[in-house]
Symmetry: C2
Subunit: 331 residues, 2 copies
């Protein structure tokens, strides 16, 4: 049986291109004792992947040239040499950009594909959903009546942030690129307002959408957007620094000029990564699955067919071309 896998061919300088990836077709390996052979069905594409392609350490070590591209997948057990897994089980894996792979049992998580579609465990019930949940709840600490602003509002994380803000009694304001995304954010997801950063009047439009200023800002983008939102933050407000996608492809990082607002408004700005709450994942999944079952959490996927198209999908994601959680359907 033949595998397909994408490896890092070269480190990108600035914008990622398809030439930075190389497709390989080695044979599928057999599981050793304690391992499980998985057929990947869904690959999640996420902005953090761009960081892992640089030589510099971000959260963790970079992908080396010639190594398999990292990523989370959802799949099905084909063969198990681990007592906790059986053929046919649905699992979440870190097997990366490939069709098949062997993983140690303790690197896999079984999921209940009857409670929600399998792909949801890569999105609103997975890392993005839990990132929204813990970031907003624990760092944003929104109070009822607060104005919560989130960038990349139609994305996997942002869409959940705004809906949780509404469920928790706040005014939810999104920032997104283009009127189609903004319409989706307000009409489908139920945000109170959404500002189109591509319209060219971000400051004025934000001020209009946030007449009482901003109490919590959930940042997925960074760069010029952060520089602008800092100008409308309230005294004692909070910024959840979750992503800075705008910088990931920049050869020279953006210089943030309005940081003085953090001083004069006594803002608390904190960086986050969802792994810091790994002993509380069950709490988040339970809450999110509950909202989903009650129809209170809407969720949209942007699906690309075929592993061959994964590089194109990541490039599009980093350019904001996706609309909802970006996935690659592998089978």
């Amino acid at each position: 049986m033949q595998n397909k896998r994408w490896v890092l061919a070269s480190r990108p300088s600035g914008w990622l291109t398809e030439e930075n990836f190389r497709l390989e077709t080695p044979p599928v390996g057999a599981p050793r004792e304690g391992e499980v052979l998985v057929k990947n069905l869904w690959l999640s594409l996420d902005p953090y992947m761009r960081g892992r392609m640089n030589a510099a350490k971000s959260y963790v070590k970079p992908v080396e040239i010639g190594e398999l591209m990292v990523g989370q997948t959802a799949g099905e057990v084909l063969e198990s040499k681990h007592p906790a897994f059986a053929k046919g089980d649905s699992v979440l894996t870190g097997l990366g950009w490939q069709l098949f792979g062997c993983a140690k049992g303790d690197a896999l998580n079984k999921v209940d594909a009857k409670r929600a579609p399998l792909s949801y465990y890569l999105g609103c019930l997975g890392m993005p959903g839990m990132t929204a949940y813990f970031g907003l709840k624990e760092i944003g600490q929104p109070k009822s009546g607060d104005t919560v602003v989130v960038s990349a509002a139609s994305g996997a994380v942002g869409s959940v942030v705004g809906q949780l803000a509404k469920l928790w009694g706040c005014r939810a304001v999104g920032i997104a690129g283009g009127s189609a995304k903004c319409d989706y954010v307000t009409r489908e997801l139920g945000f109170d307002a959404c500002v189109d950063y591509k319209a060219g009047n971000l400051l004025r439009d934000l001020e209009a959408a946030c007449p009482k200023g901003v109490d919590v800002y959930f940042e997925n983008v960074g760069g010029a957007v952060l520089d602008t939102v800092l100008r409308v933050m309230n005294v004692s407000s909070r910024i959840v620094l979750c992503g800075m996608v705008a910088d990931y492809n920049a050869t020279e990082p953006y210089g943030v000029k309005t940081l003085r607002s953090v001083l004069s408004n006594r803002i608390r700005m904190q960086g986050m990564i969802v792994f810091d709450w790994k002993d509380r994942y069950v709490e988040a999944i339970k809450a999110l699955a509950g909202y989903l079952a009650q129809g209170k959490l809407k969720y949209r996927e942007s699906v690309i067919e075929g592993l061959e198209n994964a590089p194109r999908g990541l490039i599009g994601l980093l350019k904001g071309e996706n609309f909802g959680k970006q996935l690659v359907k592998l089978a």
Copy 2:
């Protein structure tokens, strides 16, 4: 009796000049019912004053053109029409850049000039000392063994921050301009190390002074110094954003390019102003006076003689020419 007072003549653009101030000599007013006439003995010069000279709101409203320059003073009661104050009392006031002034009793604080020299209540036992105390303790939250870095380390706030860090079991590393200040910080104040930012190798020298990285950074300066320190911060570290003097005279604020460190290291950065702890001032003064009495808190003043020289003193302070807490001796 004739007063002397400095008013704002014009708003500075970029660097402050003496032409931005005008000296006036109106008669001294008489206290009304509930007021106290004070002879100012010491005027405190502080970086925040530069912000108040701009038209834009910082913490509070700006000084208007033609208005008295704001500032804290320590003085002596000449005449009281308030039951809580008597002639001869030592008081802290917000009477600003003038020799005499009338204030309502509830705008004054009596201090014990026997416990410490009167001027100390404008420094290590006043706003700067309490800023150091609450900022480090409540936002920095240093643990024993942590590395604490503070900029403007020989200044009124920084000198107390580093000494408290040592008293609380941390490694204290200062950043200061020039070898004389650095020598003072290590030899007199007892910091473990002090890096001269003017020497041109701030990153390399910081790395050498902080072999285990930085757990708490107490920021008084901002700009390029902040951009550099962000590169050596540890995971889960804290930044106390207390001052950004480097920006106060800039026509174009510095663009901070390493903010991604806040994300990847999950740093908590928080702006502060000491007024947020006003109901706990007694705790801070008690602790600081205790350390001072035990000889564990060293403190240095930079004294300019005469109200006439106050503008020159503020300009020098903003350029880092002072060495220790900057005061103007008024009588």
